[in-house]
Structures are given as structure tokens and as C-alpha cells.
Symmetry: C2
Subunit: 268 residues, 2 copies
């Protein structure tokens, strides 16, 4: 299983891309998920070189998406930015480009959902040309107003099914979906469409909407059960550890990477 | 419409039950929703007298529920407490007893959901004897670990449908359900089963999981659209304003009640 572990860079957000790659090398972590603002800091060519030289593979680029906007010009600008994200994912040989689909620009959530569908539709041919798979990630409903109007696996799969399973899949993140009464039914339905799997934990009491994620084992999510369901649905790829948590950010990088591997072995 | 407005007591949490009732009288608010810890402070008989003398009606008692527990004894204790809640709701002539169904005692969310169904089933005959309607309130999924494993209207309706619509219904709170892609379909499905409707708003950025609710109009929820759907599904009863927000708690009570009526007229 440890040959599938991937460090999602946000877990050690205070580190640069270079430091994250070095950390993975030392900790024998074979995969990494890169964030675009970190790639921008280091530069795309240099990021690619660092990762390649370390013999590490890129599980995903985080993130495309953010499709809705109040105007056609705004939506075009968002699409253009998504094309740059596709180019980066292609250059880095990422397994997928994660799509966090974006909030509504106003109260009209139905229109925002239509713009997401439209944005993905317009992006697919470009992604296909670049050999990049798109992974629609449903976010927890508590992010519906600020990050994504796509909040359930059901929705994400329905969007993905408008396209070939070669081009568009879904990303399952335990933190975002664990509460869903239809979870296991939807994971089974996603068979052949899962292009990413993310782990962390839901800690109690939950300290914060964004920064409240925990290390696997510190919370209430049935991580192993979900992992087994995702595997039964055909996903055998890298498993990203993606934790937004200031306490973890404050700890020494190497310590976090070791802890992450230990918990991964026991809890995932 | 203002003849349907109800003050959910939590909106002015720093006031006693007596102060809340007086405030409603002054502000010409015809309904109130009472919390059990406030009823306990004032005493049940005195609470009943205060409300009756003021000519105010009780839209609901908050709250029953919290069914799951790790042991049969624990679940029995929870049921006993629910019976006391039913007695209080009966004594106060409340339109419904709101059920916040409770979290899992551990990671096993499926078992917790079974205990909720079992708890409601055991409570129904007692509620029926006392002439009290039970209203299952799905909570926002961000409360799944701490307050309720029932997180969608779909789930709540499915639970309610095990019983007569005379005995068990659902409570629709815009804050808890606004994100749901199946919202309007589920509201229509709930026809004849809606026993309560709560309004507030989802503010952006969202400051806190529990205390982040806003006054109607200050956030992104399509409150009027949801109210119209709830009405089309046959609900014509009181509409509770239920806002957990420290800034609102810090303001003078009468000012909050006036603002609440103004916003209700415009936004609901």
C-alpha cells in the first residue's frame, strides 16, 4: 500500500515545492500532488526537473475548476485559466487535473451548476489534446457558498458521465464525502471513473471550516471502509494525503511525513 | 405573512424565556419556539403561563432527538429524555417537537442511523398518546459528527414515511438544506409531511461552523424560492427565525426583533 501514498503539498504548506520534493525523497514517498501557486513560485520547468530528478511521480495538479462567473467574459477568463492548468498538468505528467468547480457568483446556485457543466464541456477537448484526465472533486457542502456548487459524488458522477470515462472522472476525498447517506452506492456507481482518492480525517470537535482537517486516525471517518469501496470500484492509483491544519503546518516537515506514512499504514 | 413569523428563542439566546415572551408581545410576534434548557430555567408551568398570558403560540419545542448511544442503557436513557420532551411539548401546546437526531458514538455511522430509526419508532406511540407531532430536522452535513447523522431531507422523509403523516413529519431549515442538489425534488416529495420551516441565512465568508448563521438577506440562500416550494408542498404554518450568531446575541433584544420582522417581510 505504501507504494500508493502521495503527499498532497498542502499538508506541508509552509514548504516550497523543492522542499516538499526533497522531503518525499528522504521519506521514500513515491508520489506528490502539486498546487499551482507552488508551481508558479518555483517555475514550471524547474518544478518538472525537481520532480523528475527525484524519481517522484505527480498524482495530480491542484487545481482547475472555478468555472462560474456572472459574465460571459468572466467565464471565458476562467476557461483560459483552466487551459493553463491543463498545460501544467500535461507538462508534469500528472495522473489527473483536479477540478474544484467553484461557487455561484450570486444567490443563483442553479445557474452556477449549469456554468460548471458548460465549463467542463468546453475544457474537455483541450484536455484531451494534452492527454490530461480531468477529475471532478465534489466538495463538502459547507463549501458550497465559497468553493464549489458540486457537493456530492452523485452530482460529480452525473457531470462526468456526459463525457468518456477516458477523459473525465471523479475524485473521492473522504473528508468531503464521508457524511453522505448514498456514499457506497455512489462509489460503486463511479466504477471506472475514479481518478483520484484523498485521505485525511474529520476531527471532533471540528475547530474550523477550512483548517479543521485531521491526520488519519484522529477523527471519525471510516477511512479503510471507503478505501476498500474505492478499490472495489476499480481505483488502484495513488492515494493523496491532503490535510489543511495549522497545527500540522507548524510541525517539522520530516516529522509530518513520517507520521503520515505511519498513519497511512494503520488507518488507510 | 407576518402572522406566520415565529421567534426561535436561540436568536436572542441571552434573554430568558420571560424576556423573550415579553419581546414578542411588544414586537407583535405571534409565535415562539422554545428551547428545553430555557424552559427548565423558568419552569414548565411558569413557561406555559407566560406564553398563554401573552397570547403567543408555541411553534415548536427544541429539541428532542439525540437517539444514538453505544449501549442499550444509553439509548434507553435517551428515549426517556425524549419522552420528557414530548410531555413538555404537549403541555405547551407546541405545533411540533423538533428532532435533532444525534451523532454516532463512534465511527460507525450506519449503526447510528439505525438507532435513530429505532429511537423514533419507540417514541412515536408515546408522542401519539400526548398529541405531539414529531418533526425530523435534517442538519447540515457539517454537523454529522457532532449533532446529527440525518443530514438530508431525503433521509428525513424516508424515516418519516415509516409512520403516519399525522404523527411524524420533517422540518425544513434553509440553513441546513440550501446546498442540496435534490432540494426542490425532496420538498415536493415531503408534501403533507412538513411540520416546520426555519429561516436564517448562509453568510460569506462563513465565520464559524456553529455560530456563523446570518440574518435573512445577509447571505446567499434563495430563501423566498425555498419558502414558496415549502408552501407548494402544503405547509402554511409558522416560520421560525432561528439564528445562531454572537453578533446578533450582543445586540439589544428589541432591536433584533424589529430587524427580524423587517427582513422577514422583504426576504422570506
Amino acid at each position: 500500500m505504501l507504494n500508493r501514498i502521495s503527499l498532497n503539498q498542502i499538508t506541508i504548506d509552509r514548504s516550497s515545492l523543492e522542499e516538499a520534493v526533497e522531503g518525499c525523497s528522504r521519506a521514500d514517498i513515491p508520489w506528490i500532488a502539486l498546487w499551482r501557486h507552488k508551481i508558479a513560485e518555483t517555475g514550471l520547468a524547474e518544478s518538472k526537473r525537481l520532480v523528475r530528478d527525484a524519481g517522484i511521480r505527480v498524482s495530480s495538479v491542484c487545481r482547475g475548476g472555478m468555472f462560474p462567473a456572472a459574465t460571459a467574459n468572466g467565464r471565458q477568463a476562467n476557461l483560459d485559466d483552466n487551459r493553463r492548468a491543463v498545460e501544467e498538468a500535461a507538462e508534469l505528467g500528472a495522473e489527473a487535473l483536479v477540478l474544484v468547480c467553484g461557487p455561484a457568483p450570486d444567490r443563483d446556485i442553479d445557474s452556477a451548476r449549469k456554468w460548471v457543466a458548460e465549463g467542463i464541456e468546453r475544457l474537455v477537448p483541450f484536455a484531451l489534446d494534452h492527454g490530461v484526465k480531468l477529475g471532478i472533486e465534489p466538495l463538502h457542502p459547507m463549501y458550497a457558498a465559497e468553493r464549489s456548487v458540486i457537493v456530492t459524488l452523485d452530482q460529480a458522477i452525473t457531470l462526468a458521465e456526459r463525457h468518456s470515462s477516458q477523459d473525465v472522472g471523479v475524485v473521492v476525498d473522504v473528508f468531503h464525502v464521508w457524511w453522505d447517506p448514498g456514499l457506497y452506492k455512489q462509489i460503486a456507481r463511479a466504477e471506472g471513473r475514479i481518478v483520484g482518492f484523498h485521505v485525511s480525517d474529520w476531527i471532533v470537535p471540528t475547530p474550523d471550516l477550512l483548517m479543521g482537517r485531521g491526520m488519519m486516525g484522529d477523527g471519525v471517518i471510516e477511512i479503510r471502509r471507503i478505501r476498500e469501496a474505492v478499490e472495489a470500484a476499480g481505483y488502484k492509483g495513488p492515494i493523496e494525503v491532503e490535510i489543511f491544519n495549522r497545527d500540522i503546518w507548524d510541525r517539522p516537515r520530516d516529522e509530518v511525513l513520517i507520521l503520515m506514512k505511519e498513519r497511512f499504514s494503520i488507518q488507510v
